[in-house]
Symmetry: C2
Subunit: 552 residues, 2 copies
């Protein structure tokens, strides 16, 4: 297929970061969006619930928009939909399972009635304006993921989605390499591929190895088994139910997200549970220990999750006892390591044995390792390559890998968010002016109203606390009628420091005497700077000082 | 040696956590303290500088105190001295290098003139009351560390300190297994041993392997080398200077802590640098790239460190350019992973190549792996075993390892901080009533005044921000004279939300109308609860609301 007119790729999120994947492909007349994910906040983003991409570029082109295509149902690919869909009008495409999770999410945001969800099956081809999208099954840590083959006026584009290559798959969860090859046979203009694990040599462990390791553990266990995993990892859950059945155990579930995903998967027929294996928690606790499996949320040490409550002895129905075996069949996400190890240590304190990735092979990444990435590159043999889904160093290394697989150096484009690139009919590329991109903070119902300034204030308040000075001043005679009163929050334990706050009052009185009458602005400024200096000197602390001078 | 009278071990820190190592050994008449370390704060401890143990138990027994013994100079072993030494009067024992770093620290706290530091040499024996301490050289990630052989009236006690066993050591940094064996020949009552790496199978890599890997990197590098490491790792620094000399490079240093430690080590003769290899930064930048090595602080992505400034383009003397090689010869401490990877990604953005532990063998832990721990257990063959220096799960696993090495199950004591245990003349142990232990927060000059309540307030302020309501009320007629005024900090971007704050004012007015005149307490309580309810409903946020009602 020859190129007839230009197509522009605009990455809006997910390049240079793990999270909030979102990009657009636009011909002259039409546009499609691939994925619409969120990112979980970094530690310094105090009080922020989630982070989403800036959608201005999509909204500005909404007349051209013909579809929003979802590769799979992880939050970093679908999580920002509730903040885009109210502003655009286009169908959302994805697998049955992906759309089922999307629907749950939209319902929570009261958006489900306004959005058209269109299910696609493996190897479907869907036309969207002058483009068409082919959906290829890929193996990942969630079921029913797709890689994409996008036919555009500029040529064929392959987007791998998040994938690994499992050559000996369980339950049919495989990456359809043949379809990728077939789609690219006449030449792929461009490939975009998952860079997450480019630093890991060789091949990722496959799910059969994990199941086999878990199988040994289930067979050897004499007491109760409590197992946690990513709440969207339906395949792993299938393995747990299968192993429970094989070893004569029953499974109960504790934790909302796992329970809800199991319900959805069962309803759609993507989870097959032998008769009588899935029981209520209330029933499980009456069974002998060696017949119990409890599947729980909390693989990341989340404060309110079932596992964290179990570890702190606060779970209503389950108390840990000696002989219990807890399995964390999941990865430790870096920002969560301290929380997770706190949970593990507490479980040991209560007498449980705990198995986790570091000491047992009970988790496999859903992202391809280096040799799998190489295989994908050699299958598609694209003319251009854009690494996606990775921190900047991953993108650099994935570009280098592509070069070793025959992609010309100057055609390996290590892009960042907001850098649009146009693939032109003459076979060249043009870098366009930047599109607006940003990390938009969502805090409660507020979207984008909490920005750098507010976060900075929160850091100051959180780091050092607050001192408020109140005084009422007679404006006519410039005399203090009430105060100064000094109150603090998060600053010092006041009972220990009443003398300090008394000294602060004296300082304020002194400032009042020495400030020109009537100059309220100067008075407040001096109170603020003098008290900060005073606290820095006495305590080496620098609280936020709020002087409130009421003039009547 | 037979036991003649009881000795009590009291762990005050370091058991069930990595950090703030501190314990006491007490006979009837005398006491010694082993180590006095700090811990760095966890993320949730907002605004806290360092965390130290509660010293009440030591201070209550200060008449008995005969010495404070330091195993080595890491902060988790010496860092809390400035907060103990003002309250006790006993000499501090340690190696020349350890005490040199202690002296620097005490000078910063204006304490150096009041403390008696007594240097000990390898295999010295020092009597402290009715006990005596033998100092055995151990290999660790800092030079001049000691393990201890403590002769007590109850029997011989071995404390390994932090150690690894390097059977082919560089620069004479070895663990003197023979001395441990000799000391324990007639029977060791008790061993306490480093549990940090009990989960890691086999033997830790040795420093010679690291040097050899670094050597290959130095030989292959064509451009500048920028290398960071733990600022107290003098042996690794020696390797860097040696390799620079061998490859015709010069070394300059950027970062206060490394510079200060190098000065100390050179003064004492523990760092041997070939003539002309160590140069000033100003001189280095004029050299050809292939002759430059820059040794910098910042292995943990610390915000103000040299490497972080280099990565963000803010270092005054050094700008990264293509061809630069950055080496992180250090471990990623879990809480710092995001900061470190941010630095690495920024370095790639600027065109540098970066090597780190995950992708190259350029760091070795200073703590023994499982087989080294086993060797120590089999060397000392203690009657009792107490695992130290580890999170709770490490202690449990180290106790299990001791059991496989012949220590009776009931004599492997997995203790926690504050649980004293007495070794009695009849060969039994008695668990004593708990000693007071705590994590004491140091915030600026305040020690312990910031506790759970203040931290909770900081979390609330930091997480959701603050709303202050001020009004002046005529107490006689119960009329509002001024206000209500509403101010916020770290809550919302006020320009977007003036209507919201206006609505809040109306709510306050309404409350005022409907509250019994004169009841200031009820008025404030109603303002607080109503505004919180209002903000939760409108914004799903829950700021700290401070109502200030001034009655005149």
């Amino acid at each position: 297929m020859n190129s007839t007119s230009p197509v522009t790729l605009t990455p809006l999120g997910g390049l240079g970061e793990i999270g909030m994947n979102c990009m657009t492909f636009a011909s002259k007349d039409h546009m499609i969006v691939v994925d619409c994910g969120l990112m979980f906040p970094d530690d310094y983003m105090l009080g922020i619930d989630v982070v989403i991409p800036r959608f201005d570029h999509i909204i500005a082109n909404k007349e051209k928009l013909r579809g929003i295509v979802l590769t799979h149902a992880h939050e970093d690919h679908i999580g920002a939909l509730p903040w885009l869909l109210p502003y655009v009008d286009a169908p959302v495409y994805g697998s049955t399972f992906t759309l089922a999770l999307v629907e749950n999410k939209l319902r929570e945001h009261d958006l489900d009635r306004f959005v058209e969800l269109r299910e696609v099956k493996a190897n479907d081809r869907v036309e969207m304006g002058d483009m068409a999208v082919n959906f290829f099954p890929v193996c990942h840590s969630i079921i029913q993921g797709f890689g994409l083959g996008i036919e555009t006026p500029a040529g064929r584009i392959v987007h791998t989605g998040d994938f690994k290559i499992d050559t000996n798959p369980l339950h049919g969860n495989f990456t359809d390499i043949d379809s990728f090859r077939e789609f690219s046979r006449e030449g792929a203009l461009l490939m975009l591929s998952d860079s997450t694990n480019v630093e890991r040599e060789g091949h990722s462990p496959n799910e059969r190895e994990i199941m086999s390791a878990l199988s040994e553990i289930f067979k050897d266990a004499r007491g109760r088994i409590i197992i946690t995993l990513f709440s969207s990892h339906l395949q792993r859950m299938q393995e747990v139910f299968d192993l429970a059945w094989q070893t004569g155990r029953k499974v109960a579930v504790s934790g909302r997200s796992i329970m809800s995903n199991i319900e959805t998967a069962r309803r759609l027929g993507y989870l097959s549970i032998a008769e009588g294996v899935y029981v209520d928690m209330d029933k499980l606790v009456d069974l002998p220990d060696e017949e119990c499996v409890l599947l729980v949320t909390g693989s990341q040490g989340e404060p309110l999750s079932a596992l964290t409550r179990i570890a702190s002895g606060e779970h209503r129905q389950l108390k840990i006892k000696r002989g219990d075996l807890v399995i964390l069949s999941s990865r430790f996400i870096p920002g969560n390591v301290r929380a997770i190890t706190r949970v593990i240590n507490n479980l040991y304190r209560l007498g449980a044995e705990v198995l986790y990735e570091r000491i047992a092979s009970i988790h496999a990444s859903g992202h391809a390792f280096k040799e799998e990435l190489r295989l994908m590159l050699e299958t598609v043999r694209p003319k251009f390559f854009v690494p996606v889904h990775g921190e900047y160093r991953h993108l650099v290394k994935h570009s280098r890998l592509a070069q070793t697989c025959g992609v010309a150096t100057e055609r390996c484009l290590t892009l960042e968010n907001g850098q649009p690139v146009t693939f032109q009919p003459d076979g060249t590329v043009r870098f366009e002016d930047n599109a607006p991109v940003d990390k938009i903070y969502v805090d409660g119902k507020g979207v984008g109203d909490v920005g750098a300034t507010v976060i900075k204030e929160r850091q100051l308040l959180g780091g050092e606390g607050l001192v408020i000075v109140v005084m009422v001043v007679d404006g006519e005679n410039w005399e203090i009628l009430v105060g100064p009163n000094v109150e603090s929050k998060g600053f010092v334990f006041e009972q220990h420091y009443s003398h300090l706050l008394d000294d602060a009052k004296c300082i304020v009185l002194d400032i009042f005497e020495n400030t020109p009458p009537g100059d309220e602005t100067k008075l407040k400024e001096r109170i603020r700077s003098s008290l900060r200096r005073f606290f820095r000197k006495i305590l080496e602390r620098d609280p936020v000082v709020v002087p409130l001078v009421v003039v009547i």
